[in-house]
């Protein structure tokens, strides 16, 4: 099981890193731009008259602040998920060791001493 999970993680890392190693496709305005921004560019290119009728109430004042908030979002998500999995892992291990007769014998020895 552990091996399967490590293989899964390794595959994820390879798929994510491969584009950085492979040669970039030609004709890119900017390497690794966001697809969302590209769609926006496509809209403005095909519809030069379109005026966005609403602007964000607040924008991160710099790329640094933006990356701070993205990192915060990822950290909150990963933190909670890690807490949950760690909690359940601890519970399942405690249950296993409670049910383990060798452990019970050891406890009995402890009790006699």
């Amino acid at each position: 099981m552990k091996r399967t999970n490590l293989l899964l993680l390794a595959a994820v890392v390879v798929i994510a890193a491969l584009p950085l190693i492979l040669p970039l496709p030609g004709g890119l305005a900017e390497p690794f731009a966001g697809a969302d921004a590209q769609a926006q560019t496509a809209i403005t290119a095909a519809n030069p008259d379109y005026q966005p009728w609403f602007t964000p109430l607040w924008e991160p004042p710099s790329g640094e602040i933006e990356s701070l908030l993205f990192a915060l979002q990822a950290a909150l998500g990963a933190g909670l998920l890690g807490y949950y999995l760690g909690l359940r892992r601890g519970e399942s291990q405690r249950r296993k060791s409670d049910a383990d007769p060798a452990r019970l014998d050891a406890q009995a020895v402890d009790a006699r001493d």
Binding site: L18, P25, G34, A46, W53
Partner: protein, 223 residues
Amino acid sequence: MHIMEGFLPPVHAAVWGLASLPFLVMGARSVARVTREHPRAKLLLASAGAFAFVLSALKIPSVTGSCSHPTGTGLGAILFGPAVMAVLGAIVLLFQALLLAHGGLTTLGANIFSMAIAGPWVAYGVFRLARTLGGPLALGVFLAAALGNLATYLVTSVQLALAFPDPVSGFLGAVTKFGSVFALTQIPLAIIEGLLTVLVVNLLIQFSRDDLDELAFAPGVVR
């Protein structure tokens, strides 16, 4: 898949908002039912939301030379049913609209429809179908998460094409155009999302069998 603030004409923005509304109401009721009937699974529900939170924050490079992000909504959809993800996905999208100027309030309805409704329902449908047909659980989980991810981006392409049909080739031409921005880029990311979802389900089966039994998820699958 985030349509930027102000980038859908008002009528489109309103229609997608109205279309998402019943799913949000259904989702809120579904969340209430899960927490009432399965109090033990509450933390798992929050964790499914957390999975969407972290995955949609990760912008990952793709072979097309652009970056995009997974959605993470397939996991919650197959564990709790697709309805809850409307609410959990909307929270993620609201966070990004308000704090990151990523997506927007006027486009929130459309973005909820693609990421928090269409993706989860496709993921759920694919998962049910895969379970009915048999085959390994992991394959069903992988296909559900990956195809749910692709469905989200397909819906975004359709939403943009409806609002901005191509002057020459019309709606279909525009679907192809926006689809080409998203679809190819998204394929490796959909695979990544599928693999990560299988990984989390593996860990759940290993450590959290009780919570899965509570939800009657994949009964009988033990590690």
